[in-house]
């Protein structure tokens, strides 16, 4: 604890967290719960956060809402800078994991980098809830009409379409490959700016041919 305080105390540019930690965290949790219980629904968070780059405000809201000293956080290479680390450490007190496999929450700065899902903890058959939550930032995220990526499964009445920009080519192939391991798996939260869209492990995802 003293090391955390010293490290952040000496950081002059530390961005502020939630204006009201109790009520903002509750509001954002409900937004995340809405997203998680309606996969493929793009939810606007209105976080009011201005986190250090490249952390998006929605990704920062996820961290401030759900992360604390019990949940090691892993940041990918482009996310892992001093400002982001200091921001997360100060506001959440989370340990920053050395390797992806130790993380409860992982933050990927750009969906164009390969997901490589098996590097994360996927949980066990007895305790699948230990599977990591992976936040993937993307350059564009919008509800699709009949195009983009087709979601179906629990939480979705029939089918939902989402247009997710800038993902690595084999992102879905890699993600769908680990669906065979269900109930083990990863729960993915896409963020873009202030918006969020969840893809829990139970969701069936099909990519439609580009127009």
């Amino acid at each position: 604890m003293p090391t955390t305080l010293t490290a952040t105390g000496s950081h002059p540019d530390l961005a502020p967290g939630f204006k009201d930690p109790v009520f903002d965290a509750q509001t954002q949790f409900r937004n995340i719960l809405t997203a998680m219980s309606h996969p493929g629904q793009v939810v606007a968070l209105n976080t009011g956060l201005e986190p250090p780059a490249p952390l998006s405000s929605a990704a920062a809201a996820v961290a401030l809402t759900l992360v604390d000293f019990e949940t090691p956080v892993w940041l990918d290479a482009s996310m892992s800078n001093e400002a982001v680390t200091a921001f997360l450490r100060f506001h959440t007190g989370c340990p920053v994991a050395g390797g992806a496999e130790e993380a409860r929450f992982a933050f990927i700065a750009d969906g164009a980098t390969p997901l490589d899902p098996t590097r994360f903890d996927l949980g066990t058959d007895e305790y699948p809830d230990l599977g990591a939550t992976v936040v993937v930032q993307v350059p564009s995220l919008a509800q699709g009409a009949d195009s983009g990526t087709e979601f179906s499964g629990p939480g979705i009445e029939d089918k939902t379409y989402v247009e997710i920009g800038g993902l690595a080519d084999d992102f879905w192939a890699e993600r769908n490959a680990i669906c065979e391991l269900f109930p083990r798996g990863l729960d993915i939260l896409f963020t873009c700016g202030d918006t969020l869209c969840a893809v829990p492990r139970s969701t069936k995802v099909e990519t439609l041919a580009c127009m």
Binding site: I32, L66, D129
Partner: protein, 304 residues
């Protein structure tokens, strides 16, 4: 910090501390991501005993915000001790609006019933669960039941239902009837009557389950398949009554039998008090209550 006027001083919003809420919130999200799987969580001591809804209260405390409207029912009724005290607990510690109207509530905490009024998308139903593990009375060891869930090895439950049929000619389980969630996890729906089981299937509301003593949270996301276990030649059936509600005349709701005297007199009334009151307000009425109250069970009334 906005502080609603009815808030009791000295407590954090919704009673629990923020770290506990975060832990509960993480458990809820994993529960939603793996429908029907029981997520272990660090259940806290609450200011009421186990068995009075500590699990449901912790789940509600984890999700509730100042803009929510809370309804609490106990066996369908809004006005029983458990429902009244839990509703007051959240009015005091979270300052939220409370209601008895099913359609006005954003969060409904329930003990042992699902409201008769169909739930809407966006509503959250929080169940109080005494024993979350459906296989517990068949296999006492947690290590074993965990393995059985991992391997989807549920034959033992079918054997139990089969034994019912061979002994009684039908499946005698009338409440807490086991269900299969999303074709994967066997789940205990909490002690709701099996009459309510079909309402869980593809329900547009989010259903969360909290077991305080057993330290488990599980969930059924909206529009998720929930199938009651049965056999092809013994399909799942809900209970039916020959009578209708004495007060409102409903023949489609779950009825409680009320003994009215010591001579076998009885009447049936809706277990869902909000549903019954709404029907009466709309002008429905049942058979003459006086007449129903004197109805005898067989010849019990004549026994000397």
């Amino acid at each position: 910090m906005p502080q609603p006027s009815s808030l009791k001083a000295g407590y954090n919003f919704a009673y629990l501390d923020e770290q506990t809420k975060r832990m509960i919130r993480r458990a809820i999200l994993k529960a939603v991501a793996i429908p029907g799987y029981q997520v272990p969580f660090g259940s806290r001591e609450m200011p009421l005993p186990y068995g009075w809804g500590t699990g449901g209260i912790q789940v509600t405390a984890g999700i509730i915000g100042p803009d929510d409207t809370l309804k609490v029912i106990d066996q369908g009724a809004d006005d029983t001790t458990n429902a009244v005290s839990i509703r007051r607990f959240f009015a005091n510690t979270a300052g939220v609006a409370t209601t008895e109207q099913t359609e006005d509530a954003t969060i409904i905490q329930t003990r042992h019933r699902i409201p008769e009024t169909p739930l809407q998308a966006g509503q959250i139903l929080v169940y109080q669960v005494p024993i979350p593990e459906p296989l517990r009375w068949l296999e006492p060891r947690e290590t074993e039941t965990r393995k059985m869930h991992a391997l989807q090895e549920y034959g033992i439950m079918y054997v139990r239902l089969y034994e019912d049929i061979s002994r009684y000619g039908h499946i005698s389980t009338a409440y807490d009837y086991p269900v299969m969630v999303n074709g994967r996890y066997l789940m205990r729906p909490s002690p709701i009557p099996k009459f309510d089981n079909p309402k869980m299937d593809r329900n547009p509301a989010l259903q969360l389950f909290g077991a305080g003593r057993e330290k488990r949270i599980y969930a059924v996301p909206p529009y998720t398949s929930v199938k009651s276990l049965d056999f092809k030649d013994y399909p799942f059936q809900v209970q039916k009554w020959d009578d209708c509600c004495t007060l409102c005349g409903a023949d489609d709701s779950f009825l409680d039998e009320i003994i009215t005297d010591d001579a076998g007199g009885r009447m049936f009334v809706c277990s869902d008090s909000d549903y019954c009151a709404k029907r009466r307000d709309a002008g429905h009425s049942g058979p003459n209550p006086g007449e129903a109250a004197t109805k005898k069970i067989g010849e019990a009334g004549d026994a000397a």
